[in-house]
């Protein structure tokens, strides 16, 4: 049992991730959260669902995590007054999730910050897209988005507004800097520009269509999302995919990590005017993508994973290609790493820039790659090693410096580790013709979770089915929810020109956050 609390009954869930769930009462929410946090636990996700069709009201769902496993709490709320106790003082990362949950579903916390988050002006205030009786034709509004940014006053303070259209090939979002001279006093983020109604879209889809949509929540993490979605579906159905499918999923996930880390290391060179690094790393990334296309039919491995198994196989001849790729990348990245580390002008820009103290990272629940660069020793591939990671012994990469340099080092270390894993997967891959089990429909009134350590951090997908087994509610959760808030701290007291570098060292998703 992951936690003991008077009156709390937790039921183990089936599936690859070690998880428990239980219904709680209003009064128990804060004490349970506090006790999980005090023992080093974190909040992974917070969302709500409309259960009025089944005769009850709304339900708030909280996913907590500690060293034992995942704990999903369900808090029933009345249909007339869906109010729940604020948990943002216990888990600061909950602030934006609580605000977004109000925007989409109209369930409200009793805390302080009630500004809108994902809603700008696409739908009226007081109308809630994720309610089952939401009428899209009546929801349009001409009201202007009038967001109240926190003002910084004082002699010489001025604001710089950046976005939503940024000066590069990146996603939309808004950054409001309050600066004195070049020094940043405060950054406030404003997101929601890429909100395209993904959660609502799931509700009109079959299980198979939903897998494709899950793979497009954040394109750079398509494998992680597709796997998390499949894991959630398989948890409801109580099935386990064939062995070879699980090994191939891990191969795809590591290849996604390799490709993204290579790309980021190039960008991180470019952002300190070291275009040699960009050119070199992007040559390597392109070679990985071309191998993906040649071996698996898609450069980013989209739609390679679906509930029940995988849709592409690795041919026997492909093994040699992957082993040669490993050898080539190990050789080249080793050389480039030594160039990065010995180049004084690079290290001068990296060291101490965008510092996130381990204590702050722990308070804010920073996860994934950025968390590991600030001493947060957490990697789902290690802690909750589901098959095949239980046979791979993932070596976690951590650093305690918490600056851009540390996030670069963690990327290098993880890159080498992923190459080691790729070798091991290729050599352990047992032969089998069965790549998938039939899984087209889910049981009724089910609830399942999937958690996958993507290259950026932990990607979670929760699926609720209705009485007929259709997708009643799907909630994808990106690690960017955890890590965007810490960027506001990381930039403080740095100069404005270092923002692109600091931002890139996190490289968070807008689409995965905005949904």
């Amino acid at each position: 049992m992951p936690i003991i609390h008077p009156g709390l009954q937790l039921i183990p869930m089936s599936g690859a991730a070690p998880a428990w769930q239980g219904r709680i009462r209003q009064d128990d929410l804060q004490p349970i959260c506090r006790s999980v946090r005090d023992r080093g636990g974190r909040l992974v996700a917070l969302w709500g669902s409309d259960q009025r069709a089944s005769g009850s009201g709304f339900t708030l769902h909280l996913l907590l995590l500690n060293e034992v496993g995942l704990i999903c709490l369900h808090l029933p709320l009345s249909a007339e007054q869906p109010v729940y106790p604020d948990v943002s003082e216990i888990f600061p990362v909950a602030v934006r999730m609580q605000r977004a949950t109000y925007d989409l579903l109209g369930i409200v916390h009793d805390g302080q910050d009630h500004r809108q988050w994902l809603r700008h002006a696409a739908w009226r205030s007081g109308s809630f897209p994720l309610r089952k009786d939401f009428d899209a034709s009546q929801s349009r509004t001409d009201e202007l988005d009038n967001y109240r940014f926190v003002q910084v006053a004082g002699h010489g303070v001025h604001e710089i507004a950046v976005g939503p259209v940024h000066a590069g090939i990146i996603e939309p979002g808004h950054f409001r800097f309050s600066v004195v001279g070049e020094k940043v006093l405060r950054l406030e983020e404003r997101f929601g520009y890429a909100h395209k109604g993904i959660e609502k879209r799931f509700e009109s889809m079959s299980l198979g269509q939903g897998a494709k949509l899950a793979g497009r929540v954040s394109g750079d993490s398509t494998v992680a999302y597709a796997w998390a979605y499949a894991m959630a579906a398989e948890s409801i159905a109580g099935t386990t995919p064939p062995d070879r499918a699980l090994w191939l999923r891990a191969l795809f996930l590591e290849r996604e990590r390799i490709a993204n880390h290579l790309g980021d290391l190039g960008f991180l060179g470019n952002d300190v005017a070291f275009s040699f690094g960009l050119t070199q790393f992007w040559i390597l990334k392109e070679q990985v993508l071309r191998n993906n296309a040649a071996l698996f039919g898609h450069r980013y491995l989209m739609d390679a994973i679906h509930p029940g198994g995988v849709s592409v196989d690795l041919a026997e001849s492909g093994k040699q290609t992957l082993l040669e790729e490993c050898a080539m990348l190990e050789r080249e990245v080793h050389l480039l790493r030594s160039i990065y580390e010995e180049h004084a002008s690079i290290q001068d820009r990296y060291m101490g820039t965008g510092y996130v103290a381990p204590k702050l990272a722990a308070q804010l629940g920073v996860c994934g790659l950025a968390g590991r660069a600030s001493s947060q020793v957490w990697d789902a591939r290690m802690q909750f090693a589901c098959a095949p990671y239980d046979q791979l012994d993932v070596r976690i990469a951590v650093h305690r410096n918490g600056d851009v340099a540390a996030r670069v080092i963690v990327r290098f270390d993880e890159l080498f580790e992923s190459l080691r894993l790729q070798r091991k997967i290729v050599s352990n891959l047992t032969h089998s013709d069965i790549l998938t089990l039939p899984l087209e429909k889910l049981p009724g009134n089910g609830f399942g979770l999937g958690l996958v350590e993507g290259w950026r951090g932990e990607v979670m997908v929760a699926i609720h089915t209705d009485a007929q087994g259709r997708l009643m509610r799907v909630h994808p959760h990106d690690p960017s929810w955890q890590n965007w808030p810490v960027l506001e701290h990381a930039i403080m007291n740095n100069v404005v020109p270092d923002f692109p570098l600091i931002n890139k060292s996190f490289n968070l998703s807008y689409s995965g956050h905005d949904l």
Partner: protein, 172 residues
């Protein structure tokens, strides 16, 4: 420094021959004045707006600048301001929250201007469709000259789309 120079020499030239323009990608002819087009020469500036994509298309748009495709070697580059741009490249279904920003970016560009919609979502809304949150395809919001389909389209397809928009503009 020695290592860097050695690596550059060892890497050599990776750039592959540029693809031909793909005329089939053009959906809407646009009349542009020849004398202004002449000023494009073989140089074209592109402003990208992600109007709500999943970021998959951005991965491939970034890739067209890698050494293999070397778009900048053709005189085509991405710029930071719409005021400097000849071409607007748009990805994603247009989210309602980006509708105003997209229109303003388009309006901020000097005439004549070209618009290339990148990806299945920009083509017809893709998997996200039209909803309370999205306006669907890019041509619902601004006029589009060329569409490049794919999820995401490959770098070669993106280059073919850019070249199709340019070659047509030059012929006019």
């Amino acid at each position: 420094m020695y290592q860097i120079v050695k690596q550059i020499i060892k890497t050599g030239i990776k750039t592959e021959p540029a693809p031909q323009a793909n005329e089939e990608m053009r959906i809407q002819p646009q009349v542009l004045q020849q004398e202004i087009l002449d000023t494009f020469g073989h140089a074209l500036n592109i402003r990208l707006v992600d109007a709500g994509s999943c970021n998959g298309c951005e991965l491939e748009i970034n890739a067209v600048n890698n050494a293999y495709y070397n778009l900048e070697g053709l005189g085509i580059k991405f710029v930071a301001s719409p005021r400097h741009a000849d071409m607007l490249m748009v990805t994603g279904p247009v989210s309602r929250h980006m509708e105003v920003a997209l229109r303003r970016t388009f309006d901020a560009m000097p005439d004549p201007k070209l618009v290339v919609a990148i990806g299945d979502c920009a083509y017809d809304g893709g998997i996200f469709g039209e909803s309370y949150a999205t306006c669907g395809k890019v041509s619902n919001i601004i006029p589009v000259d060329v569409v490049v389909k794919g999820c995401p389209p490959t770098p070669v397809a993106i280059m073919q789309g850019i070249l199709a928009a340019m070659s047509h503009a030059v012929k006019e």
